[in-house]
């Protein structure tokens, strides 16, 4: 088969057909900074840096997407919250800005068009689009309305809100939904091909299925239906097997699968309906030998590759800063060698 552009490859796999080879999404956030010889903080301080760095790492590793993601707490920055940078990893959100449950009543969501940090990210995505045009998909990201409160108010208080203050919880969800839809659609307008909806609080690692069906599930259905483009739902390495049917019902096109799950079982359930993405272990990855890497890539392709509907990726949606280039090159080489369709070596 003729070699395809990354965009053709992705569209084919999303259509549940086999492209020329298994597509690979290496979801870089900080490797671009290394590439440009900058600290993480400096890297994210200018749209030009991020656009240049992300496209460079994409080309360096023949990646099938450009990742338009800055960091999760950029949304917290937009809400007026604090972001703490470090040199050896992604930034984190600082002190929660919702201090008391009652603060929720007075909360006003940020306007994307007025937010300096979000406008910077949109600029970066626009520049990425100019660089790669329609050849390579650009992936935008949002934190789900249901998951972002962990950073808005702290995890402990948020769990108590869900169980013990239902009315305020619903109120917060409506505010967060408005913001999330606005932010997602702005990224699509800036040139993103699809939006990754990070929703790990819906994962059964964090809440049980019964609670998910009453909360995260409905919120995702409402939110995704208002996002004007394709979405991928990512549980950020949280589990999702027992809610997989319900997740598919939210209208998402792709599901990010944790290494804690059997990707073969998930692929079988999703076959022909939703594309499965995963599930390389990003944390362990930094110490993989060449043999480990090739074996693991082959194993995942064998379990989930057949028939398309599959993207090889890490299981979290971010490659840790500590993962060396050698491992990343080996992942790509193995995917190119063992992911060539039809997967004849499996017969």
């Amino acid at each position: 088969m003729m070699s395809m552009t990354p965009m053709q490859r992705i569209l084919t796999t999303l259509g549940h057909k086999e492209p020329d080879r298994v597509p690979v999404f290496l979801l870089f956030t900080m490797h671009g900074a290394k590439e440009l010889g900058m600290s993480v903080k400096e890297y994210f301080s200018r749209a030009e840096n991020v656009a240049e760095g992300q496209v460079r790492v994409c080309r360096k590793f023949s990646n099938d997407c450009v990742y338009g993601f800055f960091y999760a707490p950029i949304e917290i920055e937009a809400w007026g919250g604090e972001v703490i940078f470090r040199d050896d990893g992604p930034p984190n959100s600082g002190m929660p800005f919702i201090k008391k449950f009652e603060d929720i009543r007075r909360l006003v969501p940020p306007e994307v068009g007025q937010s300096k940090c979000l406008l910077k990210a949109l600029d970066a995505q626009r520049m990425m689009k100019e660089k790669v045009r329609d050849d390579i998909p650009i992936i935008g990201t949002v934190m789900s309305p249901f998951s972002i409160p962990v950073m808005q108010m702290g995890f402990d208080k948020y769990i108590e809100l869900i169980y013990e203050h239902k009315e305020l919880f619903e109120h917060l969800m409506r505010i967060n939904e408005d913001f999330c839809v606005q932010w997602a659609n702005a990224q699509l307008d800036a040139g993103c091909t699809a939006v990754c909806y990070f929703d790990p609080v819906s994962s059964t690692t964090i809440i049980d299925k019964e609670l998910y069906l009453k909360t995260g599930h409905n919120i995702a259905k409402r939110t995704l239906s208002k996002i004007k483009g394709p979405t991928a739902t990512h549980f950020a390495a949280g589990r999702c097997y027992s809610i997989i049917e319900d997740v598919m019902q939210t209208g998402t096109s792709v599901i990010g699968v944790s290494v804690l799950e059997d990707i073969e079982k998930i692929k079988n359930d999703c076959k022909g309906r939703t594309t499965v993405m995963g599930n390389l272990n990003g944390i362990e990855m930094k110490r993989w030998t060449q043999e480990d890497t090739t074996r693991i890539v082959k194993d995942i392709i064998a379990k989930a590759g057949k028939g398309g509907g599959f993207i090889l990726s890490d299981n979290h949606g971010e490659i840790p800063f500590q993962v060396p280039d050698d491992v990343l090159h080996t992942i790509v080489d193995a995917a190119h060698e063992w992911g060539r369709y039809p997967l004849q070596w499996l017969k």
Binding site: I207, D208, A237, Q322
Partner: protein, 221 residues
Amino acid sequence: MENQLPVDDAAIYIKNMIQSLLSVNKIRAKMTLMEASTAYQPIEVVEKVIVPSLEQIGEGWTMDKVSLSQVYMSGKICTEILHDIMPQNHTIRKKQLRIAIATLEDFHTLGKQIVKSFLHSSGYEVVDYGNGRSAGDLVSLTIKDKIEVLLISVLMLPSALKVKEVRRKMRENQAAITIVVGGAPFNFDDKLYEEVEADYAGRTVSDAINIIRSIENSRGL
């Protein structure tokens, strides 16, 4: 064996306790413990009812049978009930290791909070060094307070890697403190705790109780 109720009775309390905690029903959990305290001494309520219930809940999380929000609420409910039903300033364990807990260069506090509440509910006293501590801070504090077991909870990988610096600084100060680590990065790489030279890693919150017990046993406590 001391005078005790038939095992089955403890089993019923445990079952009721687990059901109450998982359904986040504090009133029912409290009734169960109050009933148990009419039959048992405070330390027995802890050892025979609370510890096994929390252990099963913690273990359930590793098997995707129990969610983290249930784990958190279970610890919180137990701590609150114990506060209500135990006499003030009552020490449940007469003898115990000197234990401290902290997050290391990490601002994620939930793991630490849950471990602390599980240990408290199991009768252990734990010194809390707070969040976002540096390796240097932790080493000086543990030496000053003569801590024997230092529990470290992290969520970020770079924070997990800093445990190695804690170990190095302890060694420089000839401090033989047992380091127990836990948190997501250690669950995604079961060799990480060795790489950072920790003594033990817990996969789930109740492992903190089991690990402390085995350290106690190894020291004949």
